[in-house]
């Protein structure tokens, strides 16, 4: 670079180049987004009279938390909770076990193309179908009850865990795996020594997170008849028994927090 060029640059100030270089395009993109935002908010209709009436009902609901009723429906709550826990544990175990081979197959750096395409296909289907929709379908097939819930959650776990596991495998350190391959290891040994140690902390963390999600989902699935604590919760709302509903919600919150705490401990062990 010549000195004349440097002399021109000195004293000129410096700004980071804009992400969108063309100023016309940049400003019109900004203005367009703003206009869309305003238009979008204007389409939301709010009936303030209705809101005023509803405030009272909402307040009732919140007040119920001050006096949750664990007792009068105790056996229903206990039964629902137990069903949810069984559903969560069973679905998580089955889901995670199936996710691992699919996750391996969905990682481009270790799976041959045909296997990769099939596994990615399974992941895509599982992720495209929302839990509630799957649950409605499965309730239609298997009837009301926790079996439909269990299958729904297993199916959803596969999409979630396989995808994230595959992405972690794709991001692993190649040289560690290469070193194991160079020793003459077979494929399974290679996975066990070269790949598994690298992705284990993430797999454990994600699995714990999925158990947490499955428990929360099990409370929703009851609304469409797939069993669990959600069914009990739904009944409580239908009967306007807000105090019982509050008790159930408090239990769900408590269990989710306990799971969060447990997951922290487990993840720390698997660093």
């Amino acid at each position: 670079m010549s000195h004349r060029e440097l002399d021109d640059m000195l004293g000129r100030g410096w700004r980071k180049p804009h992400f969108v270089r063309n100023p016309v395009l940049r400003w019109s993109l900004g203005a367009g987004f703003l206009a869309y935002l305003v238009a979008a908010y204007l389409t939301i209709e709010v009936d303030w009279g209705r809101v005023y009436e509803g405030l009272d009902r909402g307040w009732q609901f919140i007040l119920a938390f001050a006096s949750p009723d664990f007792v009068s429906r105790a056996s229903d709550i206990w039964e629902g909770l137990l069903e949810s826990i069984v559903m969560t544990v069973a679905a998580s175990v089955v889901g995670i076990l199936i996710s691992i081979p699919i996750g391996l197959g969905a990682a481009r750096n270790i799976a041959p193309l045909p296997v990769y395409v099939i596994c990615r296909g399974i992941v895509a289907i599982s992720r495209a179908l929302q839990e509630i929709i799957v649950a409605i379908l499965l309730v239609a097939i298997f009837g009301f009850g926790p079996l439909a819930g269990f299958l729904t959650l297993s199916f959803a776990t596969i999409g979630f865990l396989s995808k994230l596991l595959a992405e972690d495998i794709e991001a692993m350190d190649k040289s560690q795996a290469e070193a194991i391959r160079a020793s003459g290891a077979g494929w399974m040994q290679w996975i066990n020594y070269g790949v598994q140690p690298q992705v284990m902390p993430r797999l454990v963390g994600l699995s714990m997170y999925r158990v947490d999600i499955n428990f929360r989902e099990s409370a929703i699935l009851g609304l469409v008849g797939a069993g669990g604590i959600g069914a009990t919760l739904n009944t409580a709302f239908d009967r306007y028994e807000y105090d019982t509903a509050a008790a159930i919600l408090i239990l769900i919150i408590g269990i989710v927090m306990a799971l969060e705490y447990l997951s922290g401990i487990v993840r720390a062990r698997f660093q």
Binding site: Q176, A179, I180, R181, A182, S183, Q189, N192, Q198, P201
Partner: protein
């Protein structure tokens, strides 16, 4: 013992990394492979154990052409070639002992390795090797707790426990300080002498290669442009391998002793 015949590697991008390499390494000979980045050094040693598939040519290890082997036979052939890596390539979340024993994976079955139930003879050999490199007390530490020099020693143990005929060594000192680099090079060459192993050592540091290795092969643009003992490596030859530069200082450091470079 090892013979490369017209070994060629063309990558999918069209880059010719190796252009018909012919090279013979007799039993027990240690050889340094020098050359600029991108000359094909790393590709060459990876073509030997087929971590990279050669495009054409042959790799003869004793009486077998490795390029035509199927999966099982390749696995058995790889057992005879220990590899030592740049940046160590230890599996960081496994213990030192697991890393060393992973060198036996070509010999033990899946369940044995999965349950970490290695034969007593393997375990004893692992202890012996760790003792030889001075890391016996580290056996149960996790690999990521070790320093660079210590990790490379574990890498050496992992290669040696394979009981190989040949060592493939890829930039063993690239991330080490000058003193540790010399110690590692000395250790590798000593161990090769003790066990009668042949070795191909990729190395950036010309002075280090001249100091420890009796035969030097220079690679440029995928072709061998020098093959001879270290004292024939003149500034003219280095210019041919690497391009124009002042080489006097590089060559002079050869006869200085260890601690000066470390200081």
């Amino acid at each position: 013992m090892l013979r490369l015949e017209k070994l060629t590697k063309t990558y999918k991008t069209g880059d010719q990394a190796l252009k018909g390499i012919d090279l013979e390494v007799p039993k027990g000979q240690v050889l340094a492979l020098i050359g600029p980045s991108g000359a094909g050094k790393s590709t060459m040693i990876r073509c030997i154990n087929r971590l990279v598939e050669p495009t054409s040519g042959a790799v003869w290890l004793d009486d077998a052409d490795l390029t035509g082997l199927g999966a099982g036979a390749l696995r058995r052939a790889r057992r005879q070639m220990g590899m030592i890596f740049q940046e160590y390539a230890l599996v960081e979340r496994l213990t030192v002992m697991e890393n060393v024993l992973s060198g036996r994976l070509g010999y033990v079955g899946f369940w044995r390795s999965f349950l970490r139930r290695y034969p007593q003879s393997d375990v004893d050999e692992a202890f012996r090797l760790l003792d030889r490199v001075g890391l016996l007390h580290m056996a149960d530490k996790r690999a990521d707790e070790l320093s660079g020099g210590q990790r490379q020693r574990v890498g050496i143990c992992r290669a040696l426990i394979q009981n190989p005929k040949l060592l493939l060594v890829d930039e063993p000192t690239a991330s080490l300080d000058p003193k540790t680099s010399r110690q590692i090079m000395r250790l590798i060459t000593e161990l090769c002498r003790e066990r009668g192993l042949a070795a191909i050592i990729n190395i950036h540091d010309v002075a280090l290669a001249q100091m420890f290795v009796p035969r030097i092969v220079g690679l440029r643009f995928g072709e061998i442009v020098f093959d001879g003992p270290p004292n024939r490596l003149t500034p003219e030859k280095l210019t041919e391998i690497y391009g124009e530069e002042d080489w006097e200082a590089t060559i002079e450091t050869v006869d200085e002793d260890d601690d000066e470079a470390a200081a």
